[in-house]
Symmetry: C2
């Protein structure tokens, strides 16, 4: 059985998974689910992912796996995208946690509100999330000021996870002009053969 | 050098780390940081954790590590609290992600607002987070309805991560009365020798 990915083409969380699977030459089928109209999700993926979110994958043996970072970790294990050293692995996980707690709820959520969904939003709520997003980007800038990638000197799933919504942050109204280290890192990741930024052609 | 934990005694995120270190008999020193008055944090942990949050640990060799779940993963590796099978490990990580994305921002944040911090909050904002918290608890209830622990049939760091703010959810105004599987699981974890619920005596 081929890996099956419940997917969405504008979701950065889904992009993370597609991008890693492509880098690893893992074949997969895609099934597109809307991120705007979520009706009917329970019938489609309710038994696969209790949180009813994409990405959700069904592995070759039929077992389901959810949460973009758990999927990244599973497929990256034993590849250059996840180091073997215990401390380096913990640093990768630290940045995966940062992405999910500080970065995604700000930048991805604002992008969803202003660029994907049509639902009207309280401008104060948007601005409050933008403040958090700018803080997350400043944390990245500080970390990257003397580094080429997030952990050690090579691309890991920490970079893929953070690239996902950073390379489309302008769609959410974030300005990266004052963040030269973040921009240099984005260019460095984009230049890696096999990296396909969103929107995919 | 002994492991050093930048800690807070009412933080569930810090509890996760203290609890695992105690289960593993890893000696550690604690340094208490306020979660209400965050002034001066940059001077104390700025070089250790770019996100300036507790828990932050300094390992025996002096290297820092941040994010409660990255710390759990690092110390649990090679112990019964993190399985060796790739799929079971991915399931543990899936629940760690769920805790951080769906559970903590709702239940821990409401608890902080109503039981720890004195800052006044918009009741509508509190109720919006309570809706998300009830949804997270319902997801747990569904998963636990035919299971003893979150992954397989033994305590893992997924249980510790979810126990942290679930066993004090009443402090945030959440009612577990209608969630028998969650209550049974809480009792099951509490009964394990070495588990010390908050507040610690």
């Amino acid at each position: 059985m081929t890996v099956l990915l419940y997917d969405n083409s504008v979701s950065g969380n889904c992009w993370k998974v597609r991008q890693l699977l492509r880098l690893l030459d893992v074949p997969f089928d895609r099934r597109e689910l809307s991120v705007v109209d979520r009706s009917g999700r329970d019938a489609v993926i309710g038994d696969l992912n209790p949180a009813l979110r994409v990405p959700t994958v069904v592995l070759e043996d039929g077992r389901p796996l959810a949460e973009s970072h758990a999927i990244l970790w599973y497929f990256a294990e034993g590849t250059p995208y996840l180091p073997t050293d215990a401390y380096a692995r913990a640093q990768v996980l630290q940045w995966l946690c940062f992405e999910q707690y500080d970065h995604e709820p700000a930048i991805a959520v604002v992008r969803f509100w202003v660029a994907i969904s049509d639902a009207p939003r309280d401008p104060a709520e948007v601005e409050a999330r933008r403040v958090l997003g700018r803080k997350a980007l400043a944390t990245m800038e500080r970390h990257l000021s003397d580094r080429t990638f997030f952990v050690r000197d090579a691309l890991t799933i920490a970079d893929l996870a953070l690239y996902a919504y950073t390379h489309v942050a302008h769609e959410a109204g974030f300005d990266l002009e004052e963040l030269p280290a973040v921009r240099a890192w984005l260019a460095r990741v984009t230049a890696i053969p096999g990296i396909v930024p969103m929107p995919e052609g």
